[in-house]
Amino acid sequence: MGKYLDKPASLKIDLMLRGIRIEDPVVQAWACGSSGVDILLPRDTLVNIPCREVFTRNSPYTIRRSGEDYFITDGRGEVPVKLVPKPAFCGGSTSTGVPFRDIAASHGSYTVVTPSKRCDFFRRSIECKYCAGNFNVADGPDRVYTVDEVLETVAAVLKEKTSGIIYLSIGFSPGDDGGIEFLKPYIAAVKKNFNCLVAVEALPPKENRWIDETYALGADSVLYNLEIFDKELFEIICPGRAALIGRKRYMEALGYAAKIFPNGTVASHLIVGLEPPGSTCMGIDFLTDMGVVPVLPIYRPSSEKDLRIEPLTTEIILPVYKHLYRAVKKKKVNLNWVRDLSMVTTPAEIRDLVDDSKGGLMDSFYKSRLGLKTAWGLSSLRRKLRVVDRDPDGEH
């Protein structure tokens, strides 16, 4: 057996770090030229594995096909895996002719919906150095999708019953609201039309009242991605975030949001590979102290942008993920929200690397459709109880 093949969580991390070579023509056709492929590892562990970047050429991993079955092998051993079919909605388009895949992208249990690809950091040339260009419209149309187009897309996504959570994502826009004014009609429309959980991935607003409003509007979860905890590296790699928002404001906004949103629904990315592991661990401690879930994606270098610190191996970063699990458990941060994501290894997946517990009945329940419905119902009830209208009817 290979080094990491026996533990799905460590295998996921190693695959995300090193990528995979796809040599089988059937699998190549299935991957369809995309930069990453979604594969289901043992124990229903979903992973998006890089397969086109240059660094993947040296990966020991390949996919082997045997009849109808697929295996990932590192040359010394192999594990059975399943290819995750592309969501059917990817082939559809809105009534206005916009392909759904331009608006939404599925990543396991959640689908990211991007109503606008605009990010003002690019216009000001202060974009984040690692950015893969999701929001860069410098060389493309500055298209803002209408609420109806987004609703059609969400309807198509939810029809497939694979994603129960819609992430509404937005880049940087000038103003104090962190983009919430722009997202407001989208959040309201999705909440009005569908019984699904909604997460908002935005930049921290300048005033906390916008966080209150985000929650009141119907967002069940919020992500303000700090990306890098180290102060100096943050300023170098994220010049726009550092200059126009500031690291301190990120911390304040995350701390405040953690008091407003339910336990485990406020998250922040810390990208593994852009700062020393020790610094990431400090970030994990800082965030979990506030009740925020650290989400640790692994940096994928490209031929144009290689910011990766070296050496970076699974041996080095595995302790960081274990530290993440222990910190989240110690601070009693709920693990049920951030789970089953193909692009990151979640604390729930690390569990079997740290202890022998299987997560129990509740863990299985929240993975089910009924669990998702329950989460939606409880989240809605909580909002109804917590949100107080400041403009009461009473006169004087």
């Binding site: 209150d212 409003e213 929650y215 009141a216 509007l217 008091k259 407003i260 909580r382 109880l385 917590r386 949100v387 107080v388 209208d389 400041r390 403009d391 009461p392 009817d393 009473g394 006169e395 004087h396």
Partner: protein, 475 residues
């Protein structure tokens, strides 16, 4: 959208949610119990039902669980439903002159604000006379008061609030850390409150009180009569109020150059005064003069509504714009309060309650004035001033009748103190706005406010004892 997130534990919030239905069930049970219990001696069955409606409305007005106007609608429905008054009589009370006076006053104030005249006057006064820190505070204080002589104090506070906020920002004073910030916002609030009791126009509470008085006794109070009766109180309160303000919060800045620049910029942005402002100003002046000198003969509401017609004839306002300024909730609330007051009086319930509850201590005219003015002043800190009048006035008129005291006097004793709420943000919108600026805390407001509250009560009774006899209103 303006929201607040309640971060108390979920079980507390669930408990509080459960309280609401429990509250209504208990209230309904109390209502049924009062109606079903044997009628006490000296009380008519209609009176007993009127008391049941009164208790329900009292609880709802004090707790503000449902909007005040909706409580009034409940009273309007229950009074004929229980047979306290006939349906025809009940709804005809809604056509009371006070209700239409309030409607006219809302429209006139809307025209003044909509034309930009009030903002221009405010900015001019502030930039012309506010040349030093002390003068600037004094101008805000006096301007708030004098504008509240002619329009609702709530509207004045809302109109001046952004200007005062801009002044604070231009001076670079920080919320919660500057005495001058506290001074500016308390001057605004207290000026509005004191000015608001000076005439019928400062708030709808005096017209409401006069409406109840008129329905119960057939008596009324003239515009000028009222202004003359409270004039010394307003002047002394303005002087003492400013003294207390500047003593409680000594000046901590030296110059106001930044404010002058900001005010000048705003004034220049208004441009030159136009036809609409001149014409609205002229209509307003003519209306006030007519209220003063023709009010008794023509009726205050008729004058107000005539002016409203003129505004439209001269094309100075559009109905669409005016609708923003008419608070229909207040009009409904006042109509309901008048109906409730009349039902208590006509069914004999008010007199029965007075005999049973306050008859023992209300043995002389001066004690009636002392006690009711104190009650009104106390209650208005926690509940709507209109609700205070609706609750206290019917009973006080009944006791006045018993002691052969002029009911007009007790109307003053309740209507005036009901407007003097200096202590808490929830007492009046002017205080709420001042507190919302974060320049002054609730504790600071209450500490300074209690001094003025006590003074206002003492002064009111001194004015009643020494000034009113001089103008033929003695007791």
């Amino acid at each position: 959208m303006s929201v607040k997130i309640d971060t108390r534990p979920i079980w507390v919030l669930l408990g509080l949610k459960a309280l609401r239905p429990l509250f209504f069930i208990t209230l309904a049970a109390s209502f049924v119990y009062i109606i079903g219990m044997p009628t006490p001696e000296g009380l008519t069955p209609e009176g007993q039902k009127a008391i049941a409606v009164f208790v329900v409305c009292l609880v709802l007005w004090v707790t503000n669980v449902i909007p005040l106007a909706i409580t009034s609608i409940l009273a309007i429905v229950l009074v004929p439903f229980l047979g306290v008054l006939s349906t025809r009589e009940t709804y005809s009370l809604f056509g009371n002159e006070a209700v239409f006076f309030i409607l006219g006053a809302f429209i006139l104030a809307g025209a003044v604000m909509g034309s930009g005249l009030s903002t221009r006057v405010a900015l001019y006064m502030l930039s012309r006379f506010g040349s030093s820190p002390k003068k600037l505070v004094m101008v805000i204080f006096l301007l708030s008061a004098s504008l509240s002589f002619f329009m609702s104090e709530h509207a004045v506070a809302a109109m001046l609030f952004p200007i005062v906020l801009e002044i604070s920002k231009s001076l670079g004073i920080r919320p919660g850390r500057s005495n001058y910030g506290r001074l500016l916002f308390l001057s605004l609030a207290w000026g509005c409150i004191i000015g608001g009791v000076a005439t019928f126009l400062g708030g709808a509470r005096v017209p409401l009180a006069v409406g109840i008085l008129n329905e119960m006794t057939g008596r009324t109070i003239g515009f000028l009569d009222y202004a003359v009766a409270v004039f010394p109180l307003v002047v002394i309160l303005l002087l003492l109020g400013f003294f207390i303000l500047t003593r409680s919060f000594p000046l901590d800045i030296k110059g106001v150059e930044g404010a002058a620049e900001a005010l000048g910029k705003r004034l220049r942005a208004l441009g030159k005064i136009g036809y609409t402002e001149y014409a609205v100003g002229a209509v307003m002046v003519a209306t006030v003069l007519a209220w003063m000198f023709l009010g008794r003969r023509l009726g205050l509401s008729s004058i107000a509504l005539t002016s409203v017609v003129f505004l439209f004839v001269l094309k100075l306002v559009r109905w669409k714009d005016i609708e923003e300024y008419v608070n229909w909730g207040i009009i409904l609330m006042y109509g309901g309060a008048i109906i409730l007051g009349s039902s208590l009086h006509k069914s004999g319930a008010a007199e029965w309650m007075v005999n049973g509850v306050v008859g023992s201590w209300a043995t002389s005219p001066w004690s009636v004035l002392l006690v009711f003015s104190l009650l009104a002043l106390f209650l208005t800190e926690g509940m709507s001033n209109a609700a205070v009048i609706a609750v206290l006035l019917p009973a006080s008129i009944a006791i006045a009748d018993k002691l052969a005291l002029d009911p007009v006097l007790v109307t003053y004793a309740i209507a005036v103190p009901a407007g003097l709420a200096f202590m808490f943000p929830m007492s009046t919108p002017a205080n709420a706005l001042a507190a919302s600026s974060n320049y002054i805390s609730m504790r600071e407001m209450a500490r300074a406010g209690i001094v003025v509250n006590v003074l206002a009560w003492v002064l009111f009774n001194l004015v009643a004892a020494f000034w009113w006899p001089l103008i033929g209103m003695g007791y």
